[in-house]
């Protein structure tokens, strides 16, 4: 395997009006994604996961750090070259009601990426659109209809057809099933898994839902206040979480098993504001196992190898 995506020490601070040093959304994130690998980024609101997705797509510019895609430094590309590169990297968004132009027919929506990148002629594009509709499980007669005629799940299928139209190498999916009901969510997750094997896609899959992430991802990165606090193979991370935050996050998920609640770790307080992050470990004010060094020093990530895969944790308990 060769690396598809290499993210190195990425920072993003958004400027705020007035005093203060701005909002530290992403703070020193590094990871490496292999071809064909699905990486899940999980974390709560405001942890910086969406900003990270947008940095990877270069939809926002970083404060510092690099992203290499297929060996090429993305932030070094001129805008025309960047546009070319985006053929290989596509995005699916959370809200299928807001991400489709209400005045375009489904056929035109699905054909749009092909038109923008000058793929084929009108006739071949029409065939390709029908092929894509079959692939994502939309009826062929949908081409002449408008987005408002479809349910949330079907609209998400339209968005997925657009995302895979150019046969990208990487698909960044930002909460693609969060707005959907349970019975529809499983249909879309299955579709994403089918397309992954059919088209050889790699996903960077962003979600706040650990159960969803565990289901679809090979590797999971847990973010807290702009930092990856733990990253490792999905199975290992769930079986033996090493960071107290990961542990609390896993235990907080309500499982449909009556009588399980006794094991839950309930964290006190809220996530601190990224405008005014705590010193030392970002998690220390809420951590049930914090001790002296946690508030003073930022923990250095320590890496262990389990089953041939890297498991990284940034916590003083493990340094």
């Amino acid at each position: 395997m060769t690396a598809l995506l290499e993210v190195d020490n990425l920072h993003k601070t958004f400027a705020t009006t007035g005093r203060g040093s701005g909002i530290r959304a992403v703070n020193g994130v590094s990871f490496c994604q292999q071809k064909g690998e699905t990486i899940g980024i999980v974390g709560e609101s405001g942890c910086g996961k969406t900003t990270l997705a947008r940095l990877v797509m270069r939809l926002v510019e970083p404060s510092s750090g690099t992203v290499r895609f297929d060996g090429e430094d993305l932030y070094g590309l001129a805008s025309a070259a960047m546009r070319q590169r985006r053929r290989d990297m596509q995005m699916i968004f959370q809200d299928p009601y807001a991400s489709l132009d209400a005045r375009m027919r489904v056929g035109a929506l699905v054909a749009e990426p092909l038109v923008i990148h000058g793929v084929g002629d009108t006739a071949s594009r029409r065939n390709e659109v029908l092929h894509l509709m079959d692939m994502v499980g939309l009826p062929r007669d949908a081409v002449d209809r408008y987005p408002h005629e479809f349910s949330g799940g079907q609209r998400q299928r339209i968005c997925i057809a657009r995302a895979v139209a150019l046969r990208p190498k990487l698909v960044v999916a930002d909460e693609p099933v969060s707005a959907l009901d349970v019975s529809i969510q499983s249909q879309i997750l299955n579709l994403l898994m089918d397309l992954r094997s059919e088209l050889g896609l790699s996903y960077l899959f962003i979600s706040h839902d650990l159960a969803v992430i565990k289901h679809i991802c090979d590797t999971i990165a847990v973010m807290y206040l702009g930092e990856i606090v733990e990253m490792g193979p999905a199975e290992t991370l769930f079986a033996a979480p090493r960071h107290p935050y990961t542990e609390a996050l896993i235990s907080a998920i309500p499982e449909p098993v009556p009588g399980r609640k006794s094991k839950r770790i309930v964290l006190s307080g809220d996530v601190p504001s990224p405008e005014n992050p705590p010193t030392g470990c970002p998690f220390h004010p809420r951590c049930p196992r914090a001790f002296e060094p946690c508030s003073a020093q930022t923990p250095v990530p320590s890496v262990t190898i389990s089953d041939g895969a890297e498991h990284r944790v940034a916590c003083h308990l493990h340094s």
């Binding site: 009901d181 019975s183 449909p256």
Partner: protein, 320 residues
């Protein structure tokens, strides 16, 4: 006698496109101090059922076609608006999904809580302020003497939901209706709020009707559960029984389709198709088009909610 008792409730909406039946023949009871879950997917009628109980349906487009709603033996549908105002907020309180839009941004939380209290109790403003601070402390707001003078925007999502809970409970109602109270919150904050509701239930002894789409929340929180699909209750039983032996194919499908921490990776079982919209519900059982167990009778005749209590289900071919 049950605390809340609903019988044969049917609600329809009347729009330019004509009449649409939203909730059909819903009957259930909530006992004093009981926690009952009402689960279902978007558009199944669970919120409309809650709004009917609270008397908060939009009067211009909605109509209660038939049925009765009784709280503590009093028929709510026969009350005029003035009498209903006395019951609402006093004997029953409600919390909503979005704590930000449910609070008035231009008043302090103290003002809003005191308003809710003095509407139902004749207290001086000093007494009311004292009760409000005590209530805020009870719902786990730290430094309530200071928080009481803050505005909603100064609070985090979790704190706002605590304030909403304080407001709903300020008059110590016997019934709390919680409509997706943790859906907008992060999972660690959700855990805090659910723990709080359980604690308050023990402390104040009220019953809770919890409306949610999350079967995980129901399993950990409720004693009894009602499953709604396309405007009807299709299964009801105790929580243990529902998860151990679901009888309606929809309930089974919903439980199977949920990704779980404990389940292996790979393909998830799905329920094919989508929920029929209110104007397009099929003849017979509303689940017939998506059901793997359907037979000829299913598409002609509505299955009644049947079976020995506490486990009842509306299905001609129940799961064994």
């Amino acid at each position: 006698m049950a605390l809340l008792s609903i019988a044969d409730l049917s609600v329809s909406f009347h729009t330019e496109d004509g009449a649409m039946s939203i909730v059909e023949d819903v009957s259930f009871e909530v006992g004093a101090g009981e926690i009952v879950g009402l689960v279902g997917e978007s558009g199944c009628g669970k919120s409309v059922t809650a709004m009917s109980i609270m008397g908060l349906l939009p009067s211009d487009i909605s109509r209660i076609d038939k049925g009765t709603i009784e709280l503590e033996g009093k028929s709510l549908l026969d009350l005029g608006e003035a009498a209903m105002c006395k019951v609402r907020g006093d004997r029953m309180g409600m919390i909503f999904q979005e704590p930000m839009t449910s609070l008035n941004p231009t008043y302090t939380i103290g003002f809003q809580l005191i308003e809710a209290l003095r509407l139902h109790r004749s207290l001086s403003s000093a007494e009311a302020r004292g009760s409000v601070i005590e209530m805020l402390r009870l719902v786990g707001v730290s430094a309530p003497e200071r928080r009481v003078d803050q505005y909603p925007h100064e609070l985090s999502g979790g704190l706002r939901q605590r304030v909403m809970i304080a407001m709903a409970l300020i008059c110590r109602p016997s019934l709390l209706i919680a409509d997706e109270p943790t859906t907008a919150l992060d999972v660690t904050v959700q855990a805090q709020i659910l723990e709080l509701l359980l604690h308050l239930k023990k402390e104040l002894g009220m019953a809770i009707l919890l409306i949610t789409h999350d079967l995980g929340v129901v399993a950990e929180f409720c004693e009894r559960v009602l499953v709604m699909y396309a405007g009807r209750i299709i299964e009801q039983t105790t929580v243990e029984e529902l998860y151990a032996r679901p009888r309606h194919p929809y309930t089974l499908g919903l439980l199977d389709a949920m990704p779980r921490i404990s389940s292996p990776a790979g393909k998830l079982p799905t329920i094919p198709g989508i929920v029929p919209s209110p104007g397009n519900r099929p003849d017979g059982c509303y689940f017939v088009e998506r059901c793997a167990h359907s037979s000829a009778r299913c598409s002609t005749k509505h299955p009644p909610l049947d079976g020995d209590p506490p486990h009842q289900f509306a299905c001609w071919n129940p799961v064994a």
